[in-house]
């Protein structure tokens, strides 16, 4: 399995760098969270710190968010949908390795490419901008990185669990769009969760969306206690287990319905 992962990762990294224009557009789309940052900076500029959030907090939050948006968001449901329609899913099924691993390495490979460009940019920006700073202990760094990785894994499983709906309907991508839209609000991507009404923030803490965005960012900003970090990991773990179960169930039942169209 290790050899297969290494070879698949190498191929998908190769796919990621195949087109310079596509890569540039990907990197540029990292700027979306920075637009949200611009809005909050205007608010702070006019009315002063909002709920204890200063300019440096927003800058650090959204700069980290820009990297996390690219490295933890999964678009596998749409890729899976396209593979079902085109017939490429059949080729994945013919291989003696579960398509789950093929899709996972596809996601990881593309993230590696983006990270190679984004991380050095973030490091340089932290050196140039005094407001962009992360003052963490090594353990907090470890927790933040682990939170991002587990959040990414959760997003992949969530996307793939939804993708299996594609065996029954051609609308899995649209359903996931609906779910993803809800997630964008509850993840902390649009606004830090502590700035949302208490009820919404309380719901967001137990939903799966915060795991890959708000949770690691709040660790990065040193805003969580040890107990809150532990709770965050527990929520992530429970959702990973739940979506893993749903994925396997959807996969087993869905395969019986697979029509192998498109070739």
């Amino acid at each position: 399995m290790t050899f297969a992962y290494r070879a698949l990762l190498r191929a998908h990294v190769g796919m990621g760098v195949a087109y310079r224009a596509r890569l540039t557009v990907w990197i540029l789309s990292s700027l979306f969270p920075l637009m949200m940052m611009a809005v909050w900076l205007s608010v702070v500029d006019e009315v002063g710190p909002t709920a204890g959030w200063r300019i440096s907090d927003f800058v650090s939050y959204y700069a980290g968010g820009a990297v996390l948006f690219h490295t933890t968001t999964s678009f596998l449901t749409w890729a899976w949908d396209a593979d079902l329609r085109s017939g490429d899913m059949s080729f994945k099924l013919l291989k003696p390795i579960d398509p789950f691993h093929q899709y996972l390495t596809q996601e990881v490979g593309l993230r590696v490419v983006v990270l190679v460009f984004l991380l050095p940019t973030l490091v340089v920006l932290t050196l140039l901008l005094p407001d962009l700073t992360y003052q963490l202990t090594p353990i907090e760094w470890f927790a933040a990185i682990t939170a991002a990785l587990t959040g990414f894994f959760l997003n992949v499983l969530m996307a793939m669990a939804f993708a299996t709906i594609g065996f029954w309907t051609t609308q899995a991508g649209n359903l996931y769009s609906l779910w993803w839209g809800l997630g964008a609000f509850l993840s902390g991507w649009i606004a830090p969760l502590s700035l949302l009404p208490d009820v919404v923030a309380d719901v967001a803490v137990v939903m799966p969306f915060r795991s890959s965005m708000g949770f690691p960012l709040e660790i990065l900003l040193g805003r969580l206690t040890g107990a809150e970090i532990a709770t965050g990991f527990a929520v992530t773990g429970i959702w990973i287990g739940g979506f893993a179960l749903l994925y396997r169930l959807g996969w087993r039942m869905g395969l019986r319905r697979y029509q192998a169209v498109g070739g």
């Binding site: 070879a7 003696p96 019986r256």
Partner: protein
């Protein structure tokens, strides 16, 4: 109709695969109507098919579009779950998708390929080496053979998207055979290839069968593929098997005539030629006649005795015509 073989690589018993398909007429109104009320139809793609294929055998799988060939191949590859019936390939039940089963066969679909589109074909080969766990020495040897036999050398470092259809098909075959599968399911492997490319692929497949003893089930609309590679054919139409046996037997059974081609030293009018058989074409000096199979020798002997014959040849009717007649008679 099924031919049973004690050492069968593929056994299919009463295989059925039905699909439920959404149907709607063309036009906006029909589109809106179908939003409110869906209409479905059951398509009986494979409807009680039985056959077996011995190890090392090469079999042609023939039928018109929509006959059920590809659906059968997909059932045998484990892509489709049968509605009922049973199929085993090398002793495995395909839809159980056991890892050892997936390593034992390959499915080549002429209209699609498994290669990474934006990368050189070599990248797909390396991924397949890892996935199929091919030892380095075996990989090197097999790849060298495939590159040589398929003439892949100049294309290995070009992105797949920049290859011609023929080059891509050869690279696809190499990717599909690197793990030396014992069973090949080939669905239109020469589709879209030029004459040279198609001949190269045919020659390679025949050679692969001889060298490895692989079992091959081949579908093709190009009869030259079938006649060059297989002796046994299975003819399927509307999801049911119409014939399973020797290609020659099919020709004898379906086309009760042979073709006599004659070259004459002096012209003979068509009326004179018609005494020997049905005249298909003549320009006075050459003629093509259809003659009842049982009288062919007698007619040829009479022509040699009674006409100024320079050259005479007795041929089977073209296989395309035979197959056309099989489907026309249904």
């Amino acid at each position: 109709m099924a031919r049973q073989n004690g050492d069968s690589a593929v056994v299919v018993e009463d295989l059925v695969k039905h699909f439920r398909v959404h149907r709607r007429e063309a036009g906006v109104a029909a589109g809106v109507k179908s939003l409110l009320r869906r209409q479905y139809a059951d398509v009986r793609a494979v409807d009680g098919v039985s056959f077996s294929i011995g190890r090392g055998e090469m079999v042609g799988f023939l039928g018109p579009n929509g006959a059920g060939k590809t659906t059968t191949l997909k059932c045998l590859s484990g892509l489709l779950y049968p509605t009922s019936g049973r199929a085993t390939v090398m002793g495995y039940t395909p839809h159980e998708r056991k890892t050892d089963f997936l390593r034992a066969f390959t499915l080549v679909m002429g209209q699609r390929n498994q290669l990474f589109w934006d990368l050189p074909a070599m990248e797909t080969f390396l991924v397949n080496q890892a996935i199929y766990r091919i030892p380095q020495s075996e990989f090197g040897t097999t790849l060298a053979e495939l590159v040589d036999l398929l003439g892949l050398g100049p294309y290995l470092d070009k992105p797949v998207r920049n290859l011609s259809l023929g080059e891509r098909m050869r690279a696809e075959l190499a990717a599909a055979l690197l793990h030396r599968p014992a069973i090949l399911f080939l669905d239109e492997p020469t589709l879209g290839l030029d004459v040279t490319g198609a001949a190269a692929v045919r020659s390679f497949l025949a050679d692969y069968n001889v060298r490895t003893g692989a079992t091959v089930l081949l579908t093709s609309h190009y009869m030259i593929d079938v006649t060059a590679l297989t002796r046994r054919v299975i003819v399927i139409d509307q999801g049911q098997i119409r014939f399973d046996g020797d290609l020659q037997v099919l020709a004898d059974k379906t086309a009760p005539h042979r073709v006599i081609k004659v070259t004459l030293s002096s012209p003979v009018d068509p009326v004179g030629l018609a005494e020997y058989g049905e005249v298909e074409a003549t320009d006075g000096f050459t003629a093509v006649l259809r003659v009842p199979r049982s009288h062919t020798k007698d007619v040829a002997a009479r022509m040699l005795a009674e006409l100024p014959v320079e050259d005479i040849a007795i041929e089977e009717p073209p296989i395309e015509e035979v197959i056309r007649q099989v489907f026309a008679s249904e």
